[in-house]
Symmetry: C2
Subunit: 417 residues, 2 copies
Amino acid sequence: MKLFRKLISLDEALKTVLAYAKPAETEIEELGFGDALNRVLAEDVYSPADSPPFDRAAMDGYAIRAEDSFGASPNNPVLLRLIKSQSEKGKESRVEGVEIGDGECFGIQTGMALPNGSNAVVMLEYTKERGSELEIFKPVTPGKNVSFKGEDVKKGEEVLKGGKLLRAHDLGMLASLFKRSVKVYKRAKFGIMSTGDELLNPEEAEPYEGEKRIADVNSYVLAGLTEPIASSYRIGIVRDNYKEIKDTISRSLAKDCDGLLISGGSSVGKRDFIADAVEDSGELVFHGVAIRPGEPTGFGIVNNKPVFILPGYPVAAISAFELLVRPFLFAVHGVKQERKKIFAVARKKIPSAVGRTDFVRVKLFCKENENEYFVEPIRVSGSGILSSMTKSDGFVVIEENKEGVEAGEKVEVIEYY
Amino acid sequence: MKLFRKLISLDEALKTVLAYAKPAETEIEELGFGDALNRVLAEDVYSPADSPPFDRAAMDGYAIRAEDSFGASPNNPVLLRLIKSQSEKGKESRVEGVEIGDGECFGIQTGMALPNGSNAVVMLEYTKERGSELEIFKPVTPGKNVSFKGEDVKKGEEVLKGGKLLRAHDLGMLASLFKRSVKVYKRAKFGIMSTGDELLNPEEAEPYEGEKRIADVNSYVLAGLTEPIASSYRIGIVRDNYKEIKDTISRSLAKDCDGLLISGGSSVGKRDFIADAVEDSGELVFHGVAIRPGEPTGFGIVNNKPVFILPGYPVAAISAFELLVRPFLFAVHGVKQERKKIFAVARKKIPSAVGRTDFVRVKLFCKENENEYFVEPIRVSGSGILSSMTKSDGFVVIEENKEGVEAGEKVEVIEYY
């Protein structure tokens, strides 16, 4: 019996959806760098100038000509003429126009530009101001306690690569280069629809004793998983009705949704209105993927926009999201950064069948003073068991050609976002 | 020479700031569960009911009395009376009021409640509808293909623990329990101030050739680092002027800021207006911590609110943020979750001096098919080198009693947020 129109491997499914992830789908916008946190950079950024833009003091002290300090010692200090004292608190501490000549010194703080003529900073600790003069107790060599122009970034150097998810540090780098705006990928907007006669809206319903319907869980979970990378719009619950589903698909895609995640009703049953509605509205590219949980996953194109058909059971929907939708969203948004994994030793055997890819929820363990993680599967089966998600730290993917994981074997754990 | 009023170890500094992190500072608010993504749960959540709330089908097929299928085989199928066909697409698929008697069966989809009287589901694959009757080719035992009531969560069971940062899955759990609102910690609001005559606003300034001033980097970086856990309010640049700084501190804290992060001007120089202003406005608890970079870090209490004095150099400010401010923010917001680290083998020696804690920026390496990370320090010194942050993946903390890390030694890497 043919369960799905086509049952394909995760590799093939992934290759297929990624082929549809045209970066053009997400346009590029220009933002002030201060608004670009957690956005994906859509350009390579090169430094327009040296950073720092001038030689500057790396310590608090006095800018001098290093040669003037040669021979200084605690018992035989060198005496220099103070152009500016360290104690002139109220005074504007700009150095523009200042010129340090032979035998002169200038009170300076860490980060300030070195005045012209000076080539070193003698630290505060090795000096003492005496009226209009400064005693220096230790010699410095030229360049001592100086941060040189271009030491951080050279003019023309690539500082940030397109495809990077911008962190706080990266915004700081953009600020330091006076790069006011930056090109980032627009966040695509995905409509999120739950289908099923058995669903109640948990924000409104008052289930009664003997109620045979359950809460819509998927629209909240899928919206939360989507949010870090794309915008989500919760369409809500649609009944198991071919026409209603088809109409909602076309209405959502005609409006401002760039794609859809539809969950529920995508299993083998005859209630398979979603796949029919997708096929009749555009193209059903595949339906049925050899992953567990998550087999009844499908993908189609309607109005040139991607439509994912996800299982109704929350754990299966999350599995399909992590294995197919997230890579798609990353590709659409130009994310080139790799996700860091955690290597961990399996404490127990994790069984898996050859011929399908398993998404295994796991818990990480690490005893104090140990420098290795151990991992245990939370529960191998039961895609209705949402607590297997909330109790786990991440997941392990067991590839389809692998017959499980032996106890003691090292696995890759991907932490949840 | 006494560089700081008090130079203390990181351990002591951390213990001190955490003692001031009263959870009462952040109040608790009640939110709709759908709005609680990335918020910190301020209550233990117990399930008000069993979940699932009833026995349900774990497969698509037919709900039956298992006993009726005994003896079925492909050549000798059992015949049952169809109460509802699988093909009744348009029909409301509710099961309330349905009662399965001897010899009856009911078409059902995964996730649907089992009708009264039935105790098992026979999979679609092992059946064939013939008019008003169903042929069954394989027997099932009672409970087969059924998800039992309370299988996921039992009534009264703790499902989420206070102190958890709520992920998408957790929202799903709350939805599944019809828990409409949830108590979370309010996000405290931190004012972020950069000080220094040498600073220009990078969103406005047009630096010219020969300009001796630099961009304000810290207010952007510190706001970005604060955002995942607390709200940030960029106060902007304040000049090196005791009165101006003192006034801005009291004005910000009198208004709606729950605390302040002030960077710059906190070094050993006489320009130390911030520490003076904090001391004169309230209490300067400590100033100077044995961390590198980040030594000129201080902490005070003004109007019963926390004020962090952070170094002017961005890398030093980030180091002080990660080592002191982030743990403080986590404590204030009741975060009990531990941050996952990555264990990695040092490729090179990482030098460090005994007597201070080092914050070392590192890059992680992992070759394909290797199941271990290697780590290299980006640059050991130079807190002016912002590119050491943007080029690194995370940091390693070398404790003060440790004389560096040898090549081949395993270290803990903390990935940046």
